[in-house]
Amino acid sequence: MRLTRHPILEFDRGREIEFEFEFDGRRLLGFEGESIAAALHANDIRVFRESVRRKRPRGFFCAIGRCSSCLMTVDGIPNIMTCVTPLREGMRVETQRGKGTIPLADLSSAGSPPPEPRRDSDDGATIPLAIVGMGPAGLSAAAYAGRMGVETVVIDENLVPGGQLIKQTHMFFGSREHYAQIRGVDIGDRLIANLESLPVKLMLGTTVLGLYPDRTLSLLAGTRHMQLKADAVILATGASENMLAFENCDLPGVYGAGAVQTLMNVHGVVPGKRVLMVGAGNIGLIVAYQLLQAGVDVAAVIDAAPEIGGYHVHAAKIRRAGVPILISHTILRVTGPDRVESAEICRVDDHWQPVPGSERKLPVDAVCLAVGLTPNCELAFQMGCRQTYMSELGGPVAVHGPDLETSIPGVFIAGDASGVEEASTAMIEGRLAGLAAAEWLGAESDTDELARLRDEAADSLKTLRAGPFGAKAREGKEKMLSSMNEDKAGTQ
């Protein structure tokens, strides 16, 4: 179902167009430029493919082109990630069975020399600073590096800047410098406005395929493949959602929380009529509230932990709207022939084991998983940055110090990619990384100003992490620092 009215958002939909869906040769309506997956969802189509070995139904799941659930055959080409592929008029979308069949190539021109690839003027160019990721950390890094006069290129695979900010309907916490009281969806615009008249270039719709030890970035923009070499790199690549395993967890109707936000707050398509939210951290609580705002019923928010993990104020909002929050509860299974029709939950004991006899079946048509995030460090690891596992920061991270520099000089990491936290801390980390990169590059601007801005940002970060909700990140970063110092002492 498409949202026509929303208390916070307005949906700027493109032109309404027709496309063809193979299942019964139906012609369906969608909006030009929205993802194929969103258009199918809006037409109440949940099964997108049949899995490779067991022929299980699969549908929309991650919404960011990171999994294999939504692969379909589009215009005869199999394995198209429909969650990130824009819909175009007249497209022919088919359910994919197994691994798909690649159409035979036209070999009539085989043997003749291949045409000379076109080279863009910026292909192969060297730039001072490349920032990967246009979320809160990346855009803040660009603003501060730019302010120091560093020529910067910011790269993001999405078509709009802002990262996860574009899906956040709630007002942010913090103080004025952290854009408190402003809705996440509006903060991205402000961060972009900060870049005006700075030497910063944005490359949207561009995926970094690889990052090599000599700081060469291999880029893919549409079907164009090119390279860029940077003197310094800031990785602001965010985090990925964790998965939870339970019976039928791959059934269409089980979604990641980020996917639900994308579907609902970007495309204006609701994920179902009645949803079970798994995870009572801030993301679970916030997305539950967003579901209510979109007119979707939330059956319950459950969490295996013995306490609510997120802010009380977020819990209070959904609680007073009548949504039960069940701690020490887990999901056992979802059932349904080819899409979720119900979910079974139960209590867990002190050892996280299901309590027999406490099972309960909830009639829901969607389950949303908000069970934590893992930092996206793969580019850092590809390049050879030293890695360590910090459960406080969300898993394996690239080792970095307070200036956000990794074990490779001139390569920095900031925001959720350096440890899962809040958007406010991501913005401040971005500033620090931008300044550190500028310093490393020997920016010719005012060094006193740089030092002042750095101290200001460091203080701000300390304040944001001072409370009980900042304790985990604070401890994680401290632990990493002490292990770094030990390593240094050991090698001297």
């Binding site: 009215r5 929303h6 208390p7 916070i8 709630h170 007002m171 942010f172 916490f173 913090g174 103080s175 004025r176 408190a180 009281q181 809705r183 209510l292 705002q293 007119g295 013995p306 306490e307 609510i308 802010y311 009380h312 104020v313 977020h314 819990a315 209070a316 909002k317 959904i318 609680r319 007073r320 709207a321 009548g322 949504v323 929050i325 701690i327 406010s424 304040t463 944001l464 001072a466 409370g467 009980p468 909700f469 900042g470």
Partner: protein
């Protein structure tokens, strides 16, 4: 801290965050249901009378000078946690009002009868909508004032339109 188990604030958890009874009966006054140390301070800046203070660290919870507060409600839509309410229990006719932030559709209209709801999501009474403000300055967090039996002003924190929607 029971609220960490079910998301509901009880009086014993709230008691250091409430206006004194004498102040409650003197006219409209703010109730800030913000009991956790989170880094946040827009409420301080929103108050034109400097009645809201966060001492020291931004992570501390706000304290209110209830003598300075006149219940104007400018802080309500400034709170990112939607945790600020203005209550009026000063009337002699046994009725009171609760002004609360309401980010749902449909927005009720003045003089509409709605169901008043407590912190647990239970309907406690009918309520009359006495004022709806949805100005640009409120940035999509409209304020709705509802009239409830006076004994419920510290209980009612939400409402539902009679057509069944939140």
């Amino acid at each position: 801290m029971n609220h960490r188990r079910d998301g509901i604030l009880r009086n014993e958890e709230l008691k250091h965050h409430l206006p004194p009874l004498t102040r409650l009966s003197a006219g409209p006054v703010v109730v800030i249901e913000c009991v956790e140390d989170i880094p946040c301070n827009p409420c301080v800046q929103a108050c034109p009378r400097d009645a809201i203070v966060i001492e020291g660290d931004i992570n501390n919870t706000p304290t209110v000078d209830y003598d300075k507060c006149n219940g104007c409600g400018l802080c309500i839509s400034a709170c990112p946690g939607l945790a600020i309410f203005v209550v009026d229990a000063s009337r002699a006719d046994g009725l009171g009002t609760v002004t609360l932030p309401y980010e749902y559709l449909p927005l009720p209209k003045k003089d509409e009868i709605v169901s008043a709801i407590d912190r647990e999501g239970n309907i406690v009474s009918d309520a009359l909508v006495t004022r709806v403000v949805d100005s640009k300055a409120l940035d999509r967090t409209p304020l709705v004032s509802i009239e409830v039996p006076q004994q419920y002003v510290m209980i009612v924190r939400h409402f539902r339109c009679k057509d069944g929607r939140d």
